[in-house]
Subunit: 470 residues, 2 copies
């Protein structure tokens, strides 16, 4: 395979960063580095955003929350405000019980919202924003073949022109997702602890189209300001609203349950049994997409370290990939970029010190050290939240506890903070959120125990009193 | 990259198996498949056994025990008897205490031995044995580039002739070690759970040469019939005897301890402090090999599944890689081959049913199902045994417990069996050994508790008796 040197590569002074992967996290990283005056080159296999097919294995809409918004805000480009123009706020979960009854469970007692946003729209916003920077160059249809970190050399196949091209960079960033090639290369040069696990559940996407009202206008078929959940203990379906007034439903279920549904009548029976209220909304005809749409698998990935010397670092799904049940995958990836940037600030990594100085070494080392603990925490929480979503949300004890926690949070907003609030509505470190959650759970259990004992004593006292005087 | 079809590939009728990796496990697999009349092609990157350098990252000698011998015996080629001609039996551990004192701890109470064998000698025996089979063809200096399991297609680089060659096979076996390329390919077609972890300790090999006695003959510098251990709690050194009357020492230690030794005087000081008895044996000059010899890292790998349809299976280190502290890596890999063969027997997988029948599908599925649990168990035990070797072996409680367990084993040889005996001197499933060990530990603890209570009662009774009558 013969590679030719790139002729298009910028010869501007200052450090050069090559970002492999032009997904959401990769493009956000490009913006942050461009703001720091690095020469940014971003490589992506897709043709561009217009190419829908390339997202076929990815979910259509995402839940954007505080961490993601914070990282968008810190670009200094008003992205957090712009994005709010095309999101749909979801103020809570809407639980669809077995018999079709609805229960709204707000996410926060102060009216906090997460936001349903379409992947494609967000990607376009970020891509369009890159045009403001002359120091960002994007190469589409580039497939990375290999890279040499020590030499800062990357070899790509330009699949459009069917040629092989070689680029150089001072720093290589792997933002190339769960099946990251940069990570694979990293594993050759560092002793990487690596864990990947497929859960035994898979998912399939379906659509609830808009309905047409009396005036002929399109309307949402259900309340758009909720994340809808059909919790069925061992499996569940969820639905998020889209701007075109449709909902994207995702059915999460053990593989064997998927395998068991082979015919259209089995499918209808299954939906009649478990999700009867959705059949008129989806429509029997559209329900058959179940057989056409791909069945996605769910992988969880942990790795360490994330970096190699002053040469390379992996971020987003390339470094840590979580199951989607906390809605934090993108938010965590965005926060990776923000944190990497803040560490660059702290270690005084500038675009114009191109000698082999230690600043970048130390910054990347610190990034692994700081971020690994948090990524592990959110990967575990995401796994845990599947049980919460598909089962706990209809458990009376869970509901009582949640209520009490909510009251206490209202009374002592800085002392007792529900886990969901810390994860979704703050930027506190994930690992700190988990530590605090454990501490609060202990406290709540002790308080519960004390209240229980007091009530028991009062009842005994009352009984004795009644026996004596009545 | 242009690949040409192989012109040397056998056109004989019957199924063809391609074994990638000509290490110990790969060659043993070749023998087993050849015996079953398959057309066997084995591909190996080394030049041949003579090429010492290619083993530079592998330990020089290995501990062969019952599982390995059983797999050699079941080839029906007398390999278990032949190998015993060039091994050195080790009947126990020889503990070198801090002050140079020696303590022998036999491995089994019935005089059971494990055997020190040189990797190169065993490899040569296996390689020479392949010559008895006209249906085994070995290709050296072949580096696998890629393979397509569904098509049964393998692409190699013949590094000697600098050409790319393509082979086909009905079944592809990955016996290509911890950094297996076949496993990497497998991860593309199956949802593989995969875990790799580097422990924070590394190793370095040193040599104790033979000594020359009064008559001018070469002699071992220490008792050759023991595995020598210098347990130092957080680190340790071990030594295994070689046929040339030398010992190969391996120093296992946290990376930071290795890093801390930078100069020759620091090295001497370190050895004077922790391994003073070895300095005259190794010799100050030869001790400096510490700085020249590579520092090996220690990786533990678990994966699942091991197979893909009826097309591919990984065995040995490619499937499960353990730290070396139980001396079971090779033994487990050999047992993989024996078990795969027994499952082929059970599922009636023969060399001459080349249609797409289900026999091979079912057999490979059963292999993953049966073997995964055992491989997980021995990977965990190997990790655990590092603590036993470097620390427990000098703990008085451990020694008392071991003695009691030994007596009970002698009294009830089929009821109480020490863990080490089950792992090293039997072919019982590793997972069964662990289950039994846990059950026995519970029993021993209960017995210990009862004995303790009885002794306490007796002492109280004695005290009362003495108080009353004296």
């Amino acid at each position: 395979m013969v590679f030719t040197e790139s002729t298009t590569q910028s010869k501007a002074p200052g450090r050069r960063v090559a970002i492999v992967g032009g997904g959401l996290v990769g493009i956000l990283a490009a913006l942050y580095f461009a703001k720091r005056d690095w020469n940014v080159e971003l490589f992506e296999l897709r043709k561009g955003t217009r190419n829908q097919a390339s997202f076929s294995q990815k979910s259509i809409n995402l839940a954007l929350s505080t961490r993601g918004l914070s990282a968008l805000a810190n670009t200094g480009l008003n992205l957090d405000e712009i994005v709010l123009n095309f999101v749909i706020p979801m103020k809570g979960r809407m639980i669809h019980l077995d018999k079709g009854e609805l229960r709204s469970q707000p996410y926060g007692i102060f009216g906090e919202c997460i936001y349903s946003v379409e992947r494609k729209a967000l990607l376009e916003l970020l891509l369009n924003t890159t045009k403001k920077f002359t120091n960002i160059k994007i190469y589409f249809q580039h497939r990375m073949k290999t890279c040499n970190f020590d030499l800062g050399l990357l070899e790509f196949e330009n699949v459009a022109e069917e040629i092989k091209v070689r680029y150089t960079a001072d720093l290589i960033i792997g933002a190339d997702g769960a099946y990251s090639s940069v990570r694979s290369q990293l594993m050759r040069v560092v002793n990487m602890d690596y864990h990947q696990e497929y859960i035994t559940h898979a998912y399939c996407e379906l659509t609830i189209p808009p309905i047409i009202d009396d005036k002929g206008d399109l309307k949402f078929a259900m309340d758009p300001n909720h994340l809808h959940i059909w919790p069925r203990h061992t499996f569940m379906m969820i639905a998020l609203p889209n701007l075109d007034k449709s909902f994207t439903c995702t059915l999460f279920m053990p593989n064997e349950n998927f395998d068991a549904i082979k015919t259209e009548s089995e499918l209808i029976n299954f939906f009649e049994l478990y999700f009867p209220d959705t059949i008129p909304l989806i429509g029997e005809q559209r329900l058959k997409e179940y057989f056409r749409n791909p069945r996605g698998s769910l992988i969880s990935i942990k790795s360490k370290p994330y970096h190699y010397r002053n040469r390379a670092v992996i971020i987003g799904d390339a470094a840590h990939c979580m199951v989607p049940f906390y809605g934090q995958g993108m938010n965590c990836g965005f926060q990776d970029v923000e944190i990497l940037d803040s560490i660059f600030e702290r270690f005084n990594v500038t675009a114009f010190r191109n000698d082999d100085s230690l600043d970048l070494d130390l910054a990347l080392k610190e990034y692994t050290k700081f971020r690994h603990e948090d990524a592990m925490a959110i990967c575990d929480l995401a796994m845990y939240n599947y049980i919460e979503m598909r089962s706990s949300v209809v458990n009376p004890w869970y509901l009582i506890r949640r209520k009490i926690e909510g009251w206490l949070h209202w009374l002592f907003p800085t002392i007792i903070i529900p886990l969901y609030t810390m994860v979704s509505f703050s930027t506190v470190r994930y690992s700190d959120a988990v530590r605090r959650w454990k501490w609060q759970s202990l406290l709540l259990n002790v308080i519960g125990l004390i209240i229980g004992v007091v009530i028991a004593l009062l009842l005994i006292f009352l009984y004795k009193f009644l026996c004596r005087y009545i």
